[in-house]
Symmetry: C2
Subunit: 175 residues, 2 copies
């Protein structure tokens, strides 16, 4: 695909399942069209996910898992904050450099909502990005300023969830 | 992954973007864990999508595009109905055979809502499927009976969409 159309800012938010997976679907579409893609997963921790395993060695995909994971037994808030800041510095460089046509910032909203990165800083980076770059942000409770700045916003609303009846996450589906 | 957990019936519905892409994200997760996956795309027509291009030659993924596409200038309702029926027969075989751990029935709800396939027939096939098989159904206006039968239902709610301001679909992102 040689045509250079303006990219979009896409936000997948809400309490339902499907935010990260929808971002991964865009990754698949872009890779299918041989467009370079970067994925930054904030706060997923170091556990291997299905998508991380899939990404290993896949041409055209720069996949990075950052953060320290969300767990009650996990590291201190200071460690989370430092990891989130470092992740954002990487993400900012990826968004600004224009090497990728799609950059996914998975669960960036948590980083914003915890106050680890300033919304104004993120909005400035999005506004100044190369025109052809599409950025996909996922996570619950997207800040209103991010919604306002986005071209496409979908709220994933939880209608029914197996966790409600005690079914644990299923490898290959949920992670 | 050798552990055989019970699969889920997952429904992604609603008027927002992200239903098909969320299903594709599950595909990525499953493939990352080396689980065999089948995708049946109903009513997308024969135009090449990013996901279809990506799927070509990908090990472990059985990707099928069925139907005649949704277009005002398209074929007659009878042609649509026959294509949908034929697609459902393939899908039924895939779900029932147990060769795949994840089977995506993309936009099956349209086929149901147009009355081309009976809901009761689909529910019977889902109920009788091999236990380890996860089935993901996407499309707007999921029938209540399907929601009732599902383990996980997310409604993708459109908050903001660039089509609203006349931006056409973007290859590598929307298709």
């Amino acid at each position: 695909v040689s045509e250079e159309r303006d990219g979009l800012v896409i936000v997948y938010t809400g309490d339902g399942k499907g935010k990260t997976t929808a971002a991964l679907g865009i990754v698949v579409r872009a890779l299918g069209r041989r467009l370079p893609v970067a994925v930054v997963q904030f706060v997923k921790g170091q556990r291997k996910t299905g998508e991380g395993l899939f990404a290993e060695g896949l041409a055209g995909l720069d996949f990075r898992t950052l953060g320290e994971g969300f767990t009650n037994r996990g590291p201190s808030p200071e460690v989370h904050a430092a990891a989130a800041r470092a992740g954002w510095e990487e993400a900012r460089e990826l968004v600004s450099a224009g090497r990728h046509r799609v950059v996914v910032l998975d669960e960036l909203t948590y980083v914003l909502n915890y106050g680890w990165v300033e919304l104004a800083e993120v909005l400035a980076v999005l506004a100044a990005r190369p025109r052809a770059t599409t950025v996909v942000v996922t996570g619950r409770n997207a800040p209103q300023g991010l919604v306002d700045a986005a071209d496409l916003v979908t709220e994933m609303r939880c209608v029914k969830h197996p966790y409600m009846r005690g079914v644990p996450a299923l490898p290959g589906v949920d992670l």
